[in-house]
C-alpha cells in the first residue's frame, strides 16, 4: 500500500526582520514591505514528513498551501527539497479568513485528496502566532493530533512515535495513522534543495502565474505534466461558502498598537550577583515570574 503524507505550509511575511513600515495605519500587516518567506516551522514539518517518507519508502508527500498566486513559491520550494507534489488553494472567496475559516478551507482540501495517513504542519506561523490552524484542521478531519512535535522517534507500518517539546520537559507519545502532527521549531531543520530537483521543477507554476506572465504553457504542460502546479478555487473544494473568507471568520481585529521599544525602557545589567538578585525581585514583584 502506498502512504499519503500531507504537509500544510504557509507563505508568511518575514517578521524576523521588521522595519518601521511593517504595519499599516489600519493595524494590519503591510505585506508589501516584508519579503515573503516559507513559514519557518512549516519547514521543520516538511523535514519530518520527508524523513517519514524515507522510512516508509512507499509514500508520497503532498504540500497544501493557501494564499495568493505567489504562494506557489512555497510549493516549488517544497518540491525542490523533496516533496512530490503540491496544491495551491487560492481565490477571492478565501480573502480575510481567520484561523477558523482557514482550517475549514484546508480541511476541505485535505479531504479532496482522499485517504490520507499523516498530516503535518508547523506549530504556528510567524505572522499570527496563533497555533490554531493545525489543531482545528485535525478536529475537522476528525483525526487525533500530536502538537509540539520535536523528534520523530519511530515510524511503523501504521503508527508514529513522537517526542513532544513541552514547557517543562518532553513527552513521547504514539498514535496510529491517520494523525495530524504540528512541528516545533526545535525539530530537525529542513534538508537543503536538491540540485537536480531545482533544475527539473524550476519552471513549475500555476495557471494564475501563467496568466500573470502572459504566457501560454499548455504545450509545455502537455509534454511535462509535472510542471503544472494545481490550483484549487473555492468551487473545487465543494464547501459551504458561508464558512469561507470574511463570512466564515468570527475573529475581528479591534485594534493593533504599535509598540516601539526605546532605549529608556531597557536596562543593562552586569553579571554581578546583587544586580541579578535585584532583577529577580523586580520580576517576582511585578508577577512576570513566580
Amino acid at each position: 500500500m502506498s502512504y499519503k503524507i500531507v504537509v500544510l505550509a504557509k507563505q508568511v511575511p518575514d517578521t524576523r526582520n521588521v522595519g518601521k513600515d511593517a504595519m499599516k495605519a489600519d493595524g494590519t500587516v503591510n505585506r508589501a514591505a516584508l519579503p515573503a518567506i516559507f513559514n519557518p516551522e512549516d519547514l521543520n514539518a516538511l523535514e519530518m514528513a520527508l524523513s517519514i517518507k524515507d522510512q516508509l519508502k512507499d509514500a508520497t508527500v503532498t504540500v497544501i498551501t493557501m494564499g495568493p498566486s505567489r504562494a506557489a513559491d512555497v510549493i516549488r520550494e517544497s518540491i525542490y527539497r523533496g516533496a512530490d507534489e503540491g496544491f495551491l488553494v487560492s481565490g477571492r472567496a478565501f480573502a480575510g479568513s481567520d484561523t477558523l475559516a482557514t482550517s475549514y478551507a484546508i480541511s476541505m482540501a485535505v479531504k479532496k485528496l482522499g485517504k490520507v495517513d499523516l498530516v503535518l504542519s508547523g506549530r504556528q506561523a510567524i505572522d499570527g502566532d496563533t497555533a490554531q490552524v493545525g489543531p482545528q484542521v485535525a478536529e475537522k478531519l476528525e483525526i487525533p493530533q500530536i502538537t509540539y512535535a520535536e523528534e520523530l522517534v519511530k515510524v511503523t507500518a501504521d503508527s508514529v512515535q513522537i517526542k513532544r517539546r513541552l514547557e517543562r520537559g518532553v513527552e513521547v507519545v504514539e498514535a496510529k495513522f491517520p494523525v495530524l502532527i504540528t512541528v516545533h521549531g526545535s525539530a530537525a531543520p529542513c534538508r537543503f534543495r536538491n540540485a537536480k530537483r531545482v533544475m527539473q521543477y524550476k519552471k513549475a507554476c500555476t495557471i494564475s502565474e501563467q496568466q500573470e506572465k502572459g504566457m501560454d504553457y499548455s504545450d509545455l504542460w502537455n509534454q511535462k505534466p509535472y510542471l503544472k502546479i494545481e490550483e484549487w478555487t473555492a468551487e473545487d473544494l465543494n464547501p459551504d461558502m458561508s464558512r469561507l473568507g470574511m463570512s466564515g471568520s468570527p475573529t475581528k481585529v479591534k485594534n493593533i498598537e504599535n509598540v516601539v521599544l526605546t532605549q529608556k525602557e531597557s536596562v543593562v545589567l552586569s553579571d554581578k550577583e546583587e544586580e541579578i538578585n535585584t532583577l529577580m525581585k523586580e520580576l517576582i514583584s511585578s508577577h512576570i515570574i513566580g
Binding site: 537543503f192 537536480k196 530537483r197 531545482v198 533544475m199 524550476k202 509535472y226
Partner: protein, 578 residues
C-alpha cells in the same frame, strides 16, 4: 543566514563570462539532451540559470553547515576505528548535506546520474566549498577521480562505478609511496594478474593518501615486472567492498586536519585495470593530476577569500590609538594587496578553467565522433593553453593563498596567533597548497616549457590585442613595458641555452614574471567588463612592475660562477664550529 555564493559578486561575474556560451554549448552538445532528461537545459540562458541556482545551494550549505563546522572538524579530526577511517562528526554532516543536495558527480554525464556541468561551475563550487573548509574540499573534490574513470576506463567499469559517485561514494587517488613522492616513476606497489580469479591483485604500501579509506580508489601500480621507470606503471580501480586494504595509520598534520591522510597496505587486493597497461603514469595520472591542480587552484582561491574576509572584518572592528586599524596606511595597504592578489588568482583560475572546459569537451566529443579540422585546431589551441595555465595557476594561487593567510594573521596582531580566531586555522590549512599535487618547484618545471616555446607570450599578445575602454590604455601601456622587460630577461637567460643549469636556476624568475603580466592582463579584461576590478588591476600591475624589475636586476647581475657559490653556501649551512 549566510550564503557563500550570493555574498560574493565575483562568482556571478565569472559565471557570466562571454566565453561561457561556447563552453556550455560544447558541454551540452548543443542541448541535445533537453528532451531526454528533465534536468537538462534547453538553451544557454536556461543552463546559466541552472548553474546560478545550483551555486546558490552550494553557497547556502557552505555558509550554513560547512563553515560553522570547520572549527570542530579541525579540533576533532578523523580517527581509525577497527581498521576503518571515521570522519569527524562535522565532516560527516558536511558530506551528507552535499550528497543529499545532489552535489557529487557535478561534471559527470547525466546517464551516470551526474549534473553534466562544465568545469566553470564545478570549479566555482570547489572554490565556495574551500572558503568554508579547505580540508573538506579534498574529500568533496576527489570526485575528480570520476572524471578519469569516465575518460579512460571501459564501459563496464564506468557503469559499475560512476553512478555511485552521485549517491555519495567518495574517491581517492593512491599515487605516492614512502619512496615515491614528487618522483612517481619510482612507484613500487605491485600489480600482478591472477589468472584463476581473472583479476589483478595489488600488493604493497601507499603513503600520504588523502581520504585513504574511500569507497572507490584509483591506484598507480607496477604491472610490468622488471621495469623501474614510469613506463612500467598502470592504473587500477579498487572497490572498498573487497575489504583488502588495511589502514595502517592516519597522519598527524599541520593543517587540513579534517581530511584524513592515510598510510595503506594493499593485501592481495583485487583490482580492475583502467584503460591500457603501461599508460598509468604517462597518460592517466598526468591527466588526473592536471585536474587536481585546477582543484588546488580553486582551493587556494577559496581559502584566500576566507582569509581576506577574516582580516577585513577584524581591521574594521579593532580599534587602536582611537581609531579602527583599517585606517592606518600599513594596514590598509596589506588589505588592499590581499584583495588584489585574491582577485588576480581568481581571474587566473577561471581563465584556466575555460581552457580546460573547451579542451575536455572536444576530447569527449572526439570519443563520440571524429572532429572536424576546425574543431581539432580549436582543441589543440585550448589544450596548449590549459597545459601552460594549469601549472601557472597552481604556482601563483597556492603561493598567494599562503601570503594572504600570513597577512591575515598579521592584521589580527596578537589575537591572530591565538586559537580563538579562524585565521590561524586558515594559515595552517594553506601550507599544504604549495606542496601537494606537485610542489611549486615542480609547477615551475611544468611551466617552463611555455616560456621556452613562447606559448605564454602568444597568449599575452592575444590578451593585448583585445578591445579595451580608452581610460584603460595607460594600464595596458604599463603591461607592455613589463612584457618588454621580461623579454630582456628571457634573452639574457636563454643565451646560456635552455638545457643549462643557469636556465633552470632562473626558471622561477621567468615563470613568475610572465605570471604577473598574465594576471595583469586578465584583471585588465575584468576591469573592462566591470569597474569593480580596476583597483585590484592597478595594484597588481604595480606589484608586477616592481617584481619584474627586481627579477631583471637579479638576472643582469648574475654570473654563472654564482651557481657554485650557491652550492658552497648550502654545504656550509651545517658546518660545526669546532
Amino acid at each position: 543566514m549566510s550564503n557563500f555564493y550570493t555574498d560574493n559578486e565575483s562568482l556571478k561575474f565569472y559565471l557570466g563570462h562571454p566565453m561561457m556560451e561556447k563552453i556550455v554549448e560544447l558541454k551540452e552538445r548543443n542541448y541535445a539532451e533537453k528532451g531526454q532528461y528533465p534536468d537538462a537545459p534547453e538553451d544557454y540562458e536556461d543552463a546559466l540559470d541552472n548553474y546560478d541556482k545550483v551555486m546558490e545551494i552550494v553557497g547556502e550549505i557552505c555558509g550554513e553547515v560547512l563553515a560553522p563546522n570547520a572549527e570542530s572538524v579541525d579540533h576533532e579530526g578523523p580517527k581509525v576505528v577497527n581498521n576503518e577511517i571515521v570522519y569527524a562528526k562535522g565532516t560527516q554532516q558536511n558530506h551528507e548535506a552535499l550528497r543529499d543536495a545532489g552535489l557529487y558527480g557535478m561534471s559527470l554525464p547525466r546517464k551516470y546520474n551526474g549534473l553534466n556541468f562544465p568545469y566553470i561551475p564545478y570549479v566555482m563550487a570547489a572554490e565556495i566549498v574551500s572558503r568554508a573548509d579547505a580540508g573538506f574540499a579534498n574529500i568533496w573534490g576527489l570526485q575528480d577521480c570520476a572524471e578519469t574513470i569516465y575518460e579512460f576506463a571501459s564501459d563496464e567499469i564506468k557503469d559499475e562505478f560512476l553512478p555511485r559517485i552521485n549517491a555519495g561514494e567518495t574517491c581517492s587517488m593512491d599515487l605516492t609511496e614512502p619512496d615515491a613522492g614528487s618522483d612517481l616513476q619510482s612507484v613500487r606497489l605491485k600489480a600482478s594478474f591472477d589468472e584463476k580469479a581473472n583479476c589483478w591483485r595489488l600488493n604493497g604500501v601507499k603513503r600520504f593518501i588523502t581520504n585513504g579509506d574511500a569507497n572507490i580508489k584509483l591506484v598507480l601500480a607496477r604491472s610490468e615486472e622488471g621495469t623501474t621507470d614510469g613506463r612500467g606503471l598502470s592504473y587500477f580501480v579498487y572497490d572498498r567492498k573487497d575489504n583488502a586494504v588495511t589502514v595502517r595509520r592516519i597522519e598527524n598534520k599541520l593543517g587540513i586536519k579534517g581530511s584524513p591522510t592515510a598510510e595503506l597496505v594493499f593485501n592481495n587486493a583485487p583490482a580492475k585495470l583502467v584503460g591500457d597497461r603501461k599508460l598509468g603514469l604517462i597518460k592517466y595520472v598526468m591527466s588526473l593530476m592536471n585536474g587536481a591542480r585546477l582543484g588546488v587552484g580553486a582551493q587556494s582561491v577559496g581559502l584566500a577569500e576566507a582569509a581576506y574576509r577574516e582580516a577585513y572584518q577584524y581591521a574594521q572592528e579593532r580599534e587602536q590609538f582611537g581609531k579602527a586599524i583599517i585606517n592606518f596606511p600599513q594596514v590598509y595597504e596589506m588589505l588592499a594587496n590581499m584583495r588584489a592578489k585574491t582577485d588576480a588568482i581568481r581571474s587566473l583560475l577561471y581563465e584556466t578553467a575555460r581552457f580546460v572546459d573547451i579542451d575536455k569537451s572536444y576530447e569527449a566529443i572526439g570519443r563520440e565522433r571524429s572532429l572536424s579540422a576546425e574543431e581539432r585546431t580549436d582543441l589543440k589551441y585550448n589544450q596548449r593553453n590549459a597545459d601552460i595555465f594549469t601549472p601557472m595557476l597552481k604556482l601563483f594561487s597556492s603561493e598567494y593563498a599562503n601570503q594572504v593567510a600570513y597577512d591575515s594573521i598579521q592584521v589580527h596582531g596578537g589575537s591572530g596567533f591565538m586559537k580563538e580566531y579562524a585565521c590561524e586555522r586558515l594559515y595552517r590549512d594553506a601550507r599544504i597548497l604549495t606542496i601537494y599535487e606537485g610542489t611549486s618547484q615542480l609547477q615551475v618545471v611544468a611551466a617552463i616549457r611555455g616560456i621556452g616555446n613562447g606559448s605564454y607570450i602568444k597568449r599575452i599578445e592575444e590578451l593585448d590585442a583585445m578591445n579595451i575602454k580608452p581610460e584603460l590604455e595607460g594600464l595596458r601601456n604599463k603591461l607592455r613595458e613589463m612584457t618588454a622587460e621580461y623579454k630582456k630577461m628571457f634573452e639574457i637567460v636563454s643565451a646560456f641555452g635552455s638545457t643549462s643549469e643557469v636556465y633552470d636556476f632562473h626558471a622561477r624568475r621567468m615563470v613568475e614574471s610572465v605570471g604577473y603580466i598574465v594576471m595583469g592582463y586578465l584583471l585588465l579584461q575584468d576591469s573592462n567588463r566591470c569597474e569593480r576590478y580596476l583597483r585590484s588591476c592597478e595594484i597588481m600591475i604595480g606589484i608586477g612592475q616592481a617584481e619584474i624589475a627586481k627579477n631583471l636586476t637579479y638576472v643582469k647581475n648574475f654570473t654563472p660562477e654564482m651557481l657554485s657559490e650557491y652550492k658552497k653556501t648550502t654545504e656550509r649551512a651545517c658546518e660545526v664550529n669546532e
